[in-house]
Every structure is written in structure tokens, then in C-alpha cells.
């Protein structure tokens, strides 16, 4: 039995790629090391009666084109929008985020009348940048060093996008792409809490602090998604993020694709410079005309391919690929809803993202700890309580809490994480929450702690980096993952990469998988079936 494509890893991008390939008529199999599928988009019962969305936890970036192409709603996917959000301030206050425009303005006005009226212009400017970047997400990045017609055409397309802007807008775009979020926000806002809230999206998943140049782009990376056309909005997959990959798996099944879980790939077979299949842990060999790796670029090439099959320059670039983990996660089963003293009862802000660092400085100091090889003493959290939005994930009245934590380094002062480190990390987080929600700790039924160590071990993310590679300019667009190999191909013929290590990068977006499938189909001159181009941004 020879498959047309063997996909290594049943993460969302692997499944997306598999779905598109299967729909185009290819015989496809997805191989997954874990007993469950989903990679970093999973829902698992880790405590009786509680569904843990224990890795990725929110959805905005997942491309609606893909949801539609692959009929994911038919296969059970529902995205529920956030209703609010809050950033708690020292001293018992909070800054809420509301969907209603007037409520949001009045909320900011409680902190700064000026900032309340500055918000619209800020949101407009960010939206302008989103409009510019969004069409690029579902396109293969041009290789600027190539003179091939398709690269030149793609560069010309990008040029046209640029020159659709006015001269000043172009300058502002370039500034935005290169500056720090702290500097960017200083141009709009005066209040530390307002700035801190806006800076949230600029550091999530990155090994940078908000004062680092390049973080304004990271903000964009998180703001360019949408929930049903509401650009920048965040939502939650009903049943946890595993619902996305479950729907993908169902879609794949409907298209005739196979999934084999429970046995990981130990080696990608390469013969005469071509990938010919994979060998599994259990010794099975799966033969395929091509292998598509959903693993990150380091894991793929440094651990599953014989180095002698790779050119030295490529290997060096892969070795130097920056994939430092910066985050950890606490997944908590709660006996009852936490009561944040700052929030009025019944506040819609509970149905969204919650944060405890009320200034850029605190966020940056948390990053300084990471640089020094520690987890942050006063960490940044992106917390949410999914059961506030989807009550089916826990028994009635009980709650599941997802705490995304920064910063957590891949190694503690040069050593592997120990269990004591992990426990200390968890206590730091729990104490922080307790400060804002007294009695919270007493309601904890179960905690799953995931440091970069667990993320690497269980999910397979090298160094625990949730984006399969840092999102700095040296690793974006035509530089992602490696200059010259940014088009989902590798130096080994018929070995493809489709994970978040590739353009346009991390987040549960699906675009890398979709784009990789597009390249494969292009390579075998097979018409793309059911593959939409990016929706035009009117």
C-alpha cells in the first residue's frame, strides 16, 4: 500500500493539509504519536467530568476560508465569541473590555478620558495594518532571491499591495512592523493599564518583552484574525480547542483520509535524496510518495532525518532556528467559579480574557526573568474560564480555568526543568490568582501544570515554543523557517513541511497546512479542489 502523502503529526495544520490533499483525490494518511489527535488543539478529560482545552485555548486566527472549504461546522465546529475581558489592577481595580462600543469607551474613561477617545483611532490604525497583512496569510511567500517567474510575480503582487497605500501609510506600516508595542502604544495612550491591556497580544507566545522592537508586529499577528468577520475579535471553540481538530478529523474521514494514532514516527525514510515514507515506533513502515511533516522544523530535520541527507548550510540554519519557549500553562478544575473582588457580580468580563499585570513595566520585568533563565516571579497571564462561555465543559456549577503564563524559559538557568521548578512555577501562578480572587485556591480540584518541558514532551513542540518558532522578522515571511526554504519544501525531494514553523506562523490558524497543501498540489499539477483564496478585504 503506497500512500500519496504521509502526514507526520495530527496537529491542526497536519490535518488541514491532509483534508485538502484528500479532497483533491490523494490517498492520505496522518500518523500521530499520541493516542489522541489534535497536537496543540486538543480537548481531553484529565479530571473526571471536566474537559480540558489544555494547550491552545482560544480561536480567532483560524481562517474562515478553511472552516468553509473543509465544512467544519458540518463536522461539529462552533466558535463562540468572547463577551468581554478584564485586566486587574493593583489596588483592587480593573479595566474591562466590552463588546459594546459605548460601554468600552466609558470603561476606558474611568481610567483616562483622553484614552477613551483615543481608542478608536488606535483601533483604526491596527485595522489598517490587518487589512494589509491578511491577504498574505493564504499565499506562499515569494523568494526575493529568486528570479523564477512565480516569485517575481508574487513580489510584484506584494509591491502592488504596498503601492496601494499612500506614501505616509507605507512609512507608518514599516514603522509599525519594526517598532516595539510599548513605543507604539505611547503614541496613542497615557494610562498604564490601558497600554498593558493592549500590549497583551503583542507578547503572547513570543520570547520578547513589550519593549522589544518587533512586538508591534506580534500584536498584529494576534489581531489579524476574526470571529465571523469581526476583525481582531477572539472566540472560543465549543467543547474546547479539540473541537477544531475533531472536526478536521471528521472532515478528513469524509474525504477518505486515514488517521493512525498511538505510534509516532521515529524516522522519515529517505532514499536517493527522496522521502519515501516513515518508520513508526512499533516498527511499521508506511510507504508514501511524499511525506509532509507537521512537526516543527527542528524536530523534523534534526531528529527524524539523517543529517547526511541535508546540505550543511540548511542544517546550520535549522540548528540556529529560534524556537525558545516562553510560556507555560496551568489548567485547573474548580469546584466553583472564582470571585474576583474587583469585578461586579455577573460581569460579562468573566466571559473573556483575564490579566493581572497592569503595566508594560511589569510585563517587561516578567520578560527579564525569562532572559535570566527563570520563570517570571510576577507572571503575565492570559487566563480564561471556558466554562463561562461553554458550560458543557464541566459539571454544573463547576468550572474549568485555562491560565496561559509568561514567561517560562525552556530551561531553568541552563538546566532542565525539575519537578520542583514546575511546582514552584505553579505556586507562583496560583498565588497571583489568589491575590485577586481570595478563596480561589480552596476551590481548586485539580491542576495540570505544563512548562515548556511538558509541552515539548507531550505535544512535541521543541523547547515548548507554541508557535513552532519565534515570530521575529528574521523568521517571518520568506525567512520562515529558513531563507530559501520558505515555500513548504525542504532540501529533500518529496519531504514537505506544513506546521507553524512555516509561513505565516503560529496560532491555530490552519494557514500553513493549507498553503503547504496548495504547494504540493501545484507540484503534482493537480487542481486544487475546494480551496478558496483568501477572502478579499473590502
Amino acid at each position: 500500500m503506497t500512500y500519496d502523502a504521509v502526514i507526520v503529526g495530527a496537529g491542526h495544520n497536519g490535518l488541514v493539509a491532509a483534508c485538502y490533499l484528500a479532497r483533491a483525490g490523494l490517498k492520505v494518511i496522518v500518523v500521530e504519536k499520541n493516542d489522541w489527535i489534535g497536537g496543540a488543539a486538543v480537548s481531553r478529560e484529565l479530571y473526571p467530568g471536566f474537559t480540558y482545552s489544555n494547550c491552545s485555548y482560544v480561536s480567532s486566527l483560524f481562517r474562515p476560508e478553511i472552516m468553509r472549504d473543509l465544512e467544519l461546522p458540518k463536522h461539529g465546529l462552533q466558535i463562540l465569541p468572547y463577551e468581554g475581558g478584564a485586566l486587574f489592577t493593583e489596588g483592587g481595580g480593573y479595566l474591562g473590555m466590552f463588546r459594546n462600543h459605548d460601554a468600552n469607551r466609558r470603561e476606558i474613561e474611568r481610567h483616562s478620558p483622553r484614552d477613551a477617545e483615543a481608542y478608536d483611532r488606535y483601533a483604526r490604525d491596527v485595522l489598517r495594518h490587518c487589512r494589509f497583512i491578511r491577504p498574505m496569510l493564504l499565499r506562499t511567500a515569494a523568494d526575493p532571491a529568486s528570479f523564477r517567474p512565480r516569485d517575481i510575480a508574487e513580489l510584484a503582487w506584494m509591491g502592488k499591495q504596498m503601492f496601494g497605500l499612500s506614501e505616509m501609510a507605507m512609512y507608518d506600516m514599516i514603522r509599525f512592523w519594526t517598532m516595539s508595542i510599548a513605543d507604539f502604544l505611547d503614541e496613542y495612550f497615557e494610562n498604564p493599564a490601558v497600554k498593558a491591556y493592549q500590549a497583551v497580544a503583542s507578547i503572547i507566545g513570543t520570547a520578547l518583552g513589550p519593549m522589544s522592537p518587533g512586538t508591534a508586529y506580534v500584536l498584529l499577528h494576534h489581531a489579524m484574525g476574526d470571529v465571523d468577520g469581526n476583525v481582531g475579535a477572539w472566540g472560543f471553540a465549543r467543547g474546547g480547542m479539540g473541537s477544531i481538530t475533531r472536526a478536521l478529523a471528521a472532515s478528513l474521514g469524509a474525504a477518505g483520509g486515514e488517521i493512525r494514532s498511538g505510534s509516532g514516527v521515529v524516522r522519515i525514510l529517505v532514499r536517493n535524496g527522496r522521502a519515501t515514507g516513515v518508520v513508526l515506533e512499533n516498527g511499521d513502515e508506511i510507504v508514501g510518495r511524499r511525506v509532509v511533516s507537521n512537526m516543527d522544523v527542528k524536530r523534523t530535520f534534526l531528529r527524524h532525518v539523517d543529517e547526511t541527507d541535508l546540505p550543511g548550510a540548511f542544517l546550520k540554519r535549522v540548528r540556529n532556528f529560534k524556537i525558545r519557549g516562553s510560556s507555560g500553562k496551568l489548567n485547573i478544575a474548580l469546584d466553583r467559579a472564582p470571585r474576583f473582588t474587583a469585578l461586579p457580580d455577573g460581569s460579562p468580563c468573566m466571559k473573556g480574557d483575564l490579566h493581572f499585570t497592569d503595566s508594560i513595566e511589569k510585563m517587561e520585568r516578567a520578560y527579564d526573568d525569562w532572559k535570566a533563565g527563570h520563570y517570571s516571579r510576577d507572571p503575565f497571564q492570559d487566563m480564561m474560564i471556558p466554562t463561562m462561555i461553554d458550560p458543557t465543559m464541566a459539571p454544573p456549577g463547576k468550572h474549568f480555568m485555562s491560565c496561559f503564563i509568561q514567561y517560562a524559559p525552556p530551561r531553568i538557568e541552563g538546566n532542565d526543568w525539575s519537578d520542583a521548578d514546575r511546582d514552584g512555577f505553579a505556586q507562583t501562578v496560583l498565588n497571583q490568582i489568589e491575590t485577586y480572587a481570595p478563596g480561589f485556591k480552596d476551590s481548586v480540584l485539580h491542576v495540570e501544570v505544563r512548562t515548556p518541558r511538558e509541552l515539548e514532551r507531550e505535544v512535541g513542540l521543541t523547547e515548548g515554543n507554541i508557535f513552532q518558532g519565534e515570530l521575529t522578522f528574521d523568521q517571518l515571511l520568506f525567512n520562515r523557517p529558513v531563507p530559501g526554504y520558505a515555500q513548504y519544501r525542504s532540501p529533500i525531494r518529496d519531504l514537505w513541511i506544513c506546521g507553524s514553523s512555516t509561513h505565516p506562523g503560529g496560532g491555530v490558524m490552519g494557514a500553513p497546512g493549507r498553503n503547504a497543501a496548495a504547494e504540493i498540489l501545484r507540484d503534482i499539477k493537480t487542481p486544487k479542489k475546494d480551496m478558496s483564496d483568501a477572502y478579499a478585504v473590502l
Binding site: 512609512y171 519594526t178 505611547d186 519593549m211 522592537p213 518587533g214 521575529t472 520568506f478
Partner: protein, 520 residues
């Protein structure tokens, strides 16, 4: 109305102001340079900070003088000579195990292991390739991203071709590394902390970035693209101190007929009918000219000399938003005797930056407007090179100390005292006994530098030289071609492309632009 007797007035007699004035004079214009201080030269002057001790007031080496300025102003003929044209750099080690970097961009490094030597040679070659293609941008007006606006397409085409000609692999690396941080580059290829320390230090010198900050490598490239007297990436000390460079420029400008008035503090730019027509001095005197060029910073020019009422609100916001955080303090020590940096050559540039991490740590503090525990620094002893800087047998130590907060939380005096204490402690750590040699110490914090030299935030580039404020974004979008929105008013200082650093390039570029755009 009196007839203007000058065609152009240049505000500020620093290196850029003098270069600009000289170039304008060569186009046949009558040029007046107004400088607030007693001697022209801006940041490139020397001054007595203690009886008998003379120190370079701000800049203490020359490493990127614009070749056009050197050549056309014939500085050699007007008195510029070098006490040392090729300073070695010593990465000072606390245990005496120094690295000594010789030649252009550390061509030879003494004290390095063989494999590290090779790794550095490879990396250096790559960086120099990039530096070389970037260097020509410094001597041109930044292009506008627009058509029909006077871009120098021939030059740009040539530069673009130059970039492409480096070969596919190098070009790809160029695009990858253009905005990368220096920390990662150093750690990808090198392992010796001393080498990484000095390179990281040099990359972030004069910036408000740490080695881990993205966009920091380009500063090392900028440094490597400098030259002095035809020597690439050289570090030079003018004979007689930094003041002699400015003096040579002033003499040269004077010789071709530029009028220089010192002690002339400009209080405002006169605007009539939406045109700049002259300046008023602090004492009320009005001087008129068809062209007014400000070689001081964009912030004081627009906010103080022009005034918001003559400008659009969005423009004023761009001026205000131009980042100008100074992160460097300047230390002057009068020493009773020569210090001993564990045997390091005192005529070399001594860099106290034990590792790239140490540089990063010293940056951490200023992010929060605090004084770092262990600052890093670049030390020069002018008195080790020649007589005349200190009484016989005694020494002057000049150091640029990073990082220092520009608006400290603790207030200016407490921060200065603490910064001096921490700086002396680090010095003592590397040169035991140096504290006992100090007869007099002067530490200029960024706010002191601002007060003394008018540089906003004490930033010696008149505004941070960061990627988002470079080239066509410098000093800010819409203002990168030296022309201001007010007809007749031009900018020519370090706040403009390509920034400061005792170069004269910005001034020369501005003059070229004026000559091209304005009929004499």
C-alpha cells in the same frame, strides 16, 4: 527691511552644521553659522573639567567621519592630524586574560582560540559584506517611497544592484539578518564571552537597545561601515584631542568664507508668510536669510525655535513621538597616575563588557528608568597617547558608560551619584586601585548632556537611531529629505539620516539637497 547679507544661516556649529555650511559655501552662498557656545564643535570638543585636566566633552573617538567631509573640507590641511589612527580595542577581562582586537572591524583578535578565530573570521566577512552595501546609503538623501519626488534613481539602482550582486546566499542572509538582534547572531556563531561582550557592547553603543533587542545588529553594521582617513572601520584619536577635529572643520569653513559666530544663542526662527526668513537671537537681534538650516535636533528646532503654531498638529505629534532616549553617560576622571587594567594597553580602547549578557543586564535597568548594578563602558585615556591632556605623569580617563537612565525615577541627583558609584565600582573591579587615583570625577548623565548640549533626552543622535527611525523614517516620516514643511527651513543635524557620531554626513547630505532644490 534690511537686505539679508547672508544667503543661508546654519543654526548649530557642530560637525554637521560646519559640514553643511562648508558645502553650501562651496555652492557660492554666503553662509553664517550661529553657535551658542564659545567654541564651535558641538559634541566634538574638549574642555577642562578639572584644573589642568582636559577631556573630550562627549565624543572621544572618531570612527565614521564622512569621506566627503574629510576630502572636500581638506581637514588635514586645516590642522587635523591623528595621535593614533588605528586604536586597538581591548576586551578587558577581570582576570587579566584580555582579548585585543586589531585592525578594521577586529580583523585580528589576539587571545582567541583557533576555532573561535575562524568562526569570527567567517562572521566578520559576512557582516562586512552587509556593511559595505549599506555604507553608500549614508551619503545620499533617503529616497521617498513615491514616484516623481526627486529620488536619486541612478544611485538607488546602483545600490540595489550592489545588494543583489553579493550572491543569492548572502542576499538571503542579508534579508534574514537585517532586523535581527545581535545577541542571537553572536551566539549562533561564537562562544567566547569576551568577544561576544565587546561586539554586543559596540552594537548597542549609543542606542536605546539591548543586545537581545531585535533590530540591534544593524548598529554593528553601521559601525563597521564607518571609515577614518580612508581606513575602513578604524578608530582614531585626533592629535590634540577631539577639539582639534571641530577646530579643523571650523578653520576649513572659515578659510572658504563661512562666517562663524559663537556665543550666539538662537531664540527663534522667524517665519513670515509661511516662510522661514531668518532667526532671532536670544538677545533679540534678528538676522535674515533666504535659507535657514537647523543643525540642532528636530525636537528643539520644531518645538522651541519654530513653535507649534506654525505647524500642523499631526506633524507636531510626529516630532513629539520621535524617540530620543539617551542611554549613555559620560565619565571624566582626573587620575593621579596611570591606572592598571590588569596590564591592558592604555593606548587601546578599553571595553569593559564581560559578556553579551552583561550588556543586556545593564540595559535592563534603564528600561525602568533605574541605574544598572554593573554598567558596561568604553574607556579612552587621551593622556596615554600624547601630552597636553593632563599634568605630566597624570591621566585623564574618558568613558562612555551604558546604560544610564535619561529620566530616572530617583531624581537626577540621586541617580547621578549612584551611577558614578556603580561606574567606579566596575572600574575598580577591572583596575584595582583606580579609585585611589581619582582626583576629580565628572559624570554627565543623559539629562546633563541634554542640558549642556541641547540633545533631546541626551541622545547623541538627536533622536534614537533605531530601525523605525532610520533612512526614510528619519527623523520621522514625511521629513526625511532634510526639507521641513516650512519653505526656506531645512534640517541638517544628527537627527536626520544617517544620524550622528562625529561624521558630518547629515550636514553634507542636507547641503547637497539644498543646493539641488534651491537656487542660490
Amino acid at each position: 527691511m534690511p537686505m539679508p547679507s547672508f544667503d543661508a544661516i546654519v543654526i548649530g556649529g557642530g560637525t554637521n552644521g560646519l559640514a553643511c555650511a562648508a558645502r553650501l559655501r562651496k555652492s557660492g552662498r554666503n553662509v553664517l553659522v550661529l553657535d551658542a557656545r564659545v567654541t564651535p564643535g558641538g559634541a566634538a570638543v574638549a574642555q577642562d573639567f578639572a584644573p589642568g585636566y582636559r577631556a573630550p566633552s562627549l565624543a572621544h573617538i572618531v570612527n565614521m567621519i564622512d569621506p566627503r567631509v574629510e576630502r572636500e573640507m581638506d581637514l588635514g590641511r586645516h590642522g587635523l592630524a591623528y595621535a593614533n589612527l588605528d586604536l586597538a580595542s581591548t576586551a578587558v577581562s577581570r582576570d587579566g586574560d584580555h582579548l585585543v582586537l586589531h585592525g578594521a572591524a577586529a580583523e585580528r583578535v589576539a587571545g582567541l582560540g583557533a576555532s573561535e578565530q575562524q568562526a569570527w573570521a567567517d562572521l566578520r566577512a559576512q557582516l562586512l559584506t552587509f556593511a559595505d552595501v549599506l555604507a553608500p546609503f549614508k551619503s545620499m538623501t533617503p529616497p521617498r517611497i513615491a514616484a516623481g519626488v526627486g529620488n536619486e534613481y541612478m544611485k538607488l539602482g546602483k545600490l540595489g544592484f550592489g545588494i543583489r550582486r553579493m550572491g543569492k546566499d548572502s542576499f538571503r542572509e542579508f534579508l534574514r539578518m537585517l532586523l535581527i538582534n545581535v545577541h542571537d547572531v553572536l551566539n549562533d556563531d561564537l562562544s567566547d564571552p569576551r568577544l561576544k561582550g565587546i561586539l554586543a557592547h559596540d552594537a548597542v553603543l549609543g542606542t536605546w537597545l539591548g543586545p537581545r533587542s531585535p533590530n540591534s545588529l544593524i548598529h554593528l553594521l553601521n559601525r563597521f561601515s564607518g571609515q577614518v582617513a580612508g581606513r575602513r572601520s578604524a578608530i582614531a584619536l585626533p592629535k590634540g584631542g577631539m577639539g582639534s577635529l571641530a577646530a579643523a572643520m571650523a578653520t576649513s569653513a572659515g578659510a572658504i568664507g563661512v562666517t562663524i559666530r559663537t556665543g550666539a544663542m538662537v531664540g527663534g526662527i522667524v517665519i513670515e508668510g509661511d516662510r522661514a526668513v531668518g532667526v532671532t537671537l536670544a538677545d533679540g537681534e534678528e538676522i535674515r536669510a533666504g535659507t535657514v538650516v537647523s543643525a540642532i535636533g528636530p525636537k528643539p528646532t520644531f518645538l522651541n525655535l519654530v513653535g507649534a503654531q506654525h505647524l500642523d498638529t499631526g506633524f507636531v505629534n510626529r516630532v513629539r513621538h520621535m524617540k530620543s532616549r539617551g542611554g549613555a553617560a559620560k565619565l571624566h576622571l582626573a587620575l593621579k597616575a596611570a591606572p592598571d587594567f590588569r596590564g591592558a594597553d592604555l593606548t587601546s580602547r578599553l571595553v569593559l563588557a564581560p559578556s553579551e549578557t552583561a550588556v543586556e543586564l545593564s540595559f535592563n535597568a534603564v528600561k525602568y528608568s533605574e541605574v544598572p548594578e554593573n554598567p558596561v563602558m568604553e574607556v579612552i585615556l587621551p593622556s596615554a597617547h600624547e601630552e597636553g591632556h593632563a599634568p605630566s605623569g597624570r591621566h585623564v580617563l574618558s568613558a562612555i558608560v551604558q546604560f544610564a537612565p535619561h529620566a530616572p525615577k530617583d531624581g537626577p541627583d540621586a541617580a547621578r551619584a549612584r551611577m558614578l558609584e556603580r561606574t567606579l565600582a566596575v572600574l575598580e573591579d577591572h583596575a584595582t586601585g583606580i579609585r585611589g587615583l581619582v582626583e576629580h570625577a565628572e559624570l554627565l548623565m543623559p539629562y546633563d548632556i541634554e542640558a549642556r548640549y541641547g540633545m533631546a533626552g541626551g541622545n547623541w543622535h538627536h533622536g534614537e537611531l533605531s530601525v523605525e527611525q532610520m533612512l526614510f523614517l528619519r527623523p520621522f516620516p514625511g521629513m526625511a529629505q532634510y526639507a521641513t514643511p516650512i519653505p526656506g527651513l531645512w534640517l541638517a543635524g544628527a537627527g536626520c539620516h544617517p544620524g550622528g557620531g562625529i561624521s558630518g554626513a547629515a550636514g553634507w547630505n542636507a547641503a547637497e539637497r539644498i543646493v539641488k532644490e534651491v537656487r542660490a
